[in-house]
Amino acid sequence: MNLLEKLDAAAAARKAMLPEGVGAFGIPIEEVYSATEARIGERRVLLLGTNNYLGLTFAPECIEAAHKALDEEGTGTTGSRMANGSYYGHRALEREFADFYDCCSGIVFTTGYQANLGTISGLVGRGDTVLIDGDSHASIFDGCILSGAEIIRFKHNDMADMEKRLRRLGGRAETTLIIVEGIYSMLGDQAPLPEIVELKNKYNCTLLLDEAHSLGVLGETGQGLVEKTGLLKEVDFITGTFSKSLCSIGGFCVSNHPQLDQLRYVSHPYIFTASPSPATIASTRAALQLLRNGSDLRKQLWKNCTQLYTRLKETGYILGPEPGPVIAAILDSPKQALQIWHRLLENNIYVNLILPPAAPDGKSLVRCSVNAAHTTEQIAHVGETFAKLYHEVLQP
């Protein structure tokens, strides 16, 4: 098989799973009306598959800041943070993130994906070990591959399995980086951070926590799982993204270890890429202020999460283990998931469809993301529609 034939074979396997004409992946959004509504084809749909957790995509403060930066600093930096791409705004945002997490160092990356790639490959290398959760995001996995460290996985959120693997490491635990996530993007469940910290201290490892989905969502000021659990000082490195609750693109790493700054000189995903545009940085800075002061938004978000989680659970759907902004209905077959996804869209509701191998344990997911801008009525309507489809599709 030549290279192109291999791609043809992969395309055939994909088509076998998805009937012709069903464009569930990369569906074009023609017009965006608000944080909760958009047009797909001829339909005005309710958006329930975005990562816009605080509903800030149209926040006037962020739009105004971005406009100003665009006018004053132009469309792009055209260069790396290491060369001509470190503007005042990038450095200010780094200080603001460090201040937010009460840390001494912060680094801004061009995406959250690169924040994980750059941080992990800067911290560990050949001869070191990474111990990662079995459900880790691809950016974590790819960062580990890039680093050249030995990759060991433990069963998702299973502390007995994690400890077993730490014990097996023996003396190598000291050069081991444990990597976990605040909220897991597939099922919306949280890492058991108190137990993880206990094990990290017992075995003398280093701990990295990706707060991608928990930033702005957990904790009084929105720091994430570190704040909810009161364990900020126990986590060595925190990474995160601007692409979810902060509604732009970019990523960060903060730490109380001043050695973090050394990553700027060794980390290829930081050095060999252009820095985020001035408008992106400006809107992110404005959004971070809104996030820090956003306890009302978080209250609304959690009210919405609980409302939808409870409704779907009562209906009979199998969900992840706890409520949160990511609520996934776990289905046995890709066909069922596809049917529900499709029928939801016919009912003007857009959610995410996740099929194997992307979903854990060979399951298929219809995944909802709830945000603070959804109204109680919108969430109730989504719950009703899911209930109707449960009877039509799963129990006809």
């Binding site: 070990t129 591959i145 030995e150 990759i151 060991i152 996985r153 069963k155 077993k164 693997r165 097996r168 490491l169 023996g170 191998p357 344990d361 060979g362």
Partner: protein
């Protein structure tokens, strides 16, 4: 690694694999894990976890990338066991 050790590992692997593969496949050290056995990747990952527990080791995922046959897996396990 003693030969004995290697033989035991191969034996254990063949036993575990035959409980997953269809009955008509004869599993030997030369069996290719991917092309000879039609085991889906999730079952294979679960099997790896069982094997890890049986030998009280962790097999790094990157090392697994180079493994195609039962023989190669047995060598990897023997190497990890002797290093730990």
């Amino acid at each position: 690694m003693t030969d004995n050790n290697y033989d035991e590992i191969v034996q254990l692997l063949c036993d575990r694999l035959s409980s997953l593969a269809s009955a008509d496949v004869n599993i030997t050290a030369e069996t290719n894990l991917i092309s000879d056995l039609s085991i889906d990747s999730i079952k294979l990952l679960n099997l790896i976890m069982e094997i890890e527990d049986a030998f009280d080791i962790s097999i790094p995922i990157n090392a697994l990338a180079d493994v195609q046959t039962v023989h190669e897996l047995a060598c990897l396990i023997a190497k990890i066991k002797s290093a730990s």
